[in-house]
């Protein structure tokens, strides 16, 4: 096993009586792209700011490349950071902004100029060196901010919601560009976002945060398909949550609205009569019986929304509603509200939430 490049160990942060980060632990491998994903106030930015040195942990330590940097000042850490509000220096040109860190580090002018030109090429804005920040669009400014952050070849790159202030189209293209530059340079990166699609699409791993703790750390595939907690399951993606009562823990049988379904494997730690929260992703459900889908539930069509290529159907099952999407087929009319319906799914896709 390789030595982690960044190791955040038992970090806690309190502001007066309020603890915003509690016992946060994370190891990041060299060259890895890890996202902190969570709602506002979950502590993700505070952890990032502690790694940057803008906040001092109340307890715990932060190690980068084997060196404890917990008490180092931000300007001694050799860390690059991109801010949500761009934070380009308005009085400096694009080239001067990118070269700022190089000049501070005392790099000879010729070398610094070469590095600035290289950075402008990497972010695909080679002709923009003489412009001022106010002459650029939001997307261009954030690319300059990225170039400025990576120009001094930092050990670690921190991205604090860098795409939040941009419009949807630019956001998608820029996130792909950030990922491609990060892969090209092989720089270890921490990316803070509250946008699950962003985190799922570009991360090697995601730390889903809630209430100052990492609820789950895993690959996007694991986070989406095997959420460890109720919060992760609800926060990442769309989820149908049904209440069920255990009828036979040994064989994994559960009753949902008077209908029995089997879960894959035993229900360890549960006994008959216990109430469980069961989760099903919409894409794991089909309308009607289908081969290979070993479980089913009956209900009534509650809502039908025609969205063009997709039809979103909500099926009422007892007191709960299950949402699922079906592809639009011109030969088959969409189901009608009030119709009896059966939904089917694989028992392995039904998750028990803790």
């Amino acid at each position: 096993m390789t030595e982690p490049f960044l190791s955040i160990q038992h970090v806690r942060k309190s502001f007066g009586p309020i603890t915003v980060v509690q016992d946060f632990n994370l190891d990041v491998e060299p060259g890895e792209f890890v996202s902190f994903l969570g709602p506002s106030g979950c502590g993700k930015t505070t952890v990032l700011r502690m790694v940057a040195g803008f906040e001092e942990p109340s307890a715990g330590k932060i190690v980068v490349a084997g060196k404890d940097i917990t008490r180092l000042k931000p300007n001694q850490r050799n860390v690059g950071m991109v801010f949500q509000a761009y934070a380009l220096f308005p009085n400096l040109t694009v080239a001067q902004n990118i070269g700022f860190g190089l000049k501070v580090a005392g790099m000879p002018k010729a070398d610094a100029d070469r590095r600035v030109a290289e950075m402008l090429d990497i972010i695909k804005l080679p002709q923009m060196g003489d412009r001022y920040p106010y002459q650029l669009s939001g997307g261009q400014q954030q690319r300059i901010a990225l170039a400025r952050a990576i120009a001094p070849k930092p050990k670690l790159l921190l991205l604090d919601e860098p795409l939040s202030a941009l419009d949807a189209k630019v956001r998608v293209s820029l996130r792909e560009e950030i990922r491609s530059i990060q892969k090209k340079l092989g720089i270890t990166t921490i990316f803070v976002t509250h946008d699950q699609e962003e985190a799922l699409s570009i991360s090697d791993r995601i730390a889903v945060m809630y209430g100052g703790k990492a609820e789950q750390v895993g690959t996007p595939f694991e986070i989406y398909n095997r959420p460890a907690t109720k919060f992760v399951a609800n926060f990442v993606g769309t989820l149908n949550v049904l209440e069920g009562t255990v009828t036979d823990a040994a064989s994994g049988k559960v009753r949902v609205n008077s209908q029995e379904v089997s879960l894959k494997g035993k229900l360890n730690g549960s006994k008959s009569g216990d109430t469980l929260s069961l989760a099903l992703r919409p894409e794991a459900i089909s309308l009607g019986r289908h081969p290979g889908r070993d479980s089913s539930l009956s209900g009534e069509i509650a809502e039908v929304h025609f969205l063009g290529s997709v039809i979103r159907v909500r099926v009422g099952i007892g007191g709960s509603t299950v949402s699922l999407d079906t592809f639009n087929s011109p030969a088959t009319p969409p189901p009608a509200v009030g119709e009896k319906a059966e939904i089917s799914f694989s028992s392995g896709d039904m998750l028990v939430l803790h």
Binding site: K73, N75, R77, F83, A85, L88, F89, F100, V104, Y132
Partner: protein
Amino acid sequence: MKSGRFWAWIVFALGAAYFFIPLIATVEFSMRMRRGAYSFDAYQVVLGDPRFQATFIYSVVAAIFTIVLGVLVVVPAAYWIRLRLPQLRPVVEFITLLPLVIPAIVIVFGYIRMYGSNSPLPFLASETGANALLVIGYATLALPYMYRAVDTGLRTIDVRTLTEAAQILGAGWGTIITRVILPNVLIAVLSGAFLTFAIVIGEFTMASLLNRPAFGPYLQNVGANRAYEPAALAIIAFAITWGCMSLIQILSRFAPRSANRPN
């Protein structure tokens, strides 16, 4: 609507008359030194007077030192308060307003008692010390204007994020203030500087009571003993003040535009 505009013009005309008539009268009077004809004789006398030149140069030098002192004290203080101690802003604002409430004569008497030749800090025991004390006093008088100008400038930029962006790129406090903060509030600092200049050039109380050869006491002296020259001097002083104000207006057009305020 038309009636409203008519009355607006009337009010404007009355205001302009209130402002310009005394000014025109002073200009007219300053040009009547030669009997029976308008001339610039009074201006020639004033500008040719070696005491005018000496006192004017003294006050200009004092103003420059006051501006430097003001910038050195106010820019880091206002920056630090915005960055780290925002809860202290109302207190600091109140303190910076005190020179407007406390008359200059009270401040200068305090100085004379505190820094007399027998005190532990005998500023008044030497010429240089007295000059330094005058500059410190002027910096105090100009504090409300300088602080407000700089604070307004700081409000237009995201002080915290720019500071953090510079810090993470390896910059220390000196670099942050000189290369990031000061250039972005330079126009505000210049506004404060010109206001300071205008105050110092005409200041009488402090310079007179500290017995300094400044322009203010010279103006008073000439005014008490001559007829036409004081009017010429008043117009010259007025022109200097207006020149400073015009420079503020011109320079503010060159203010660096913030990334967040494209226009």
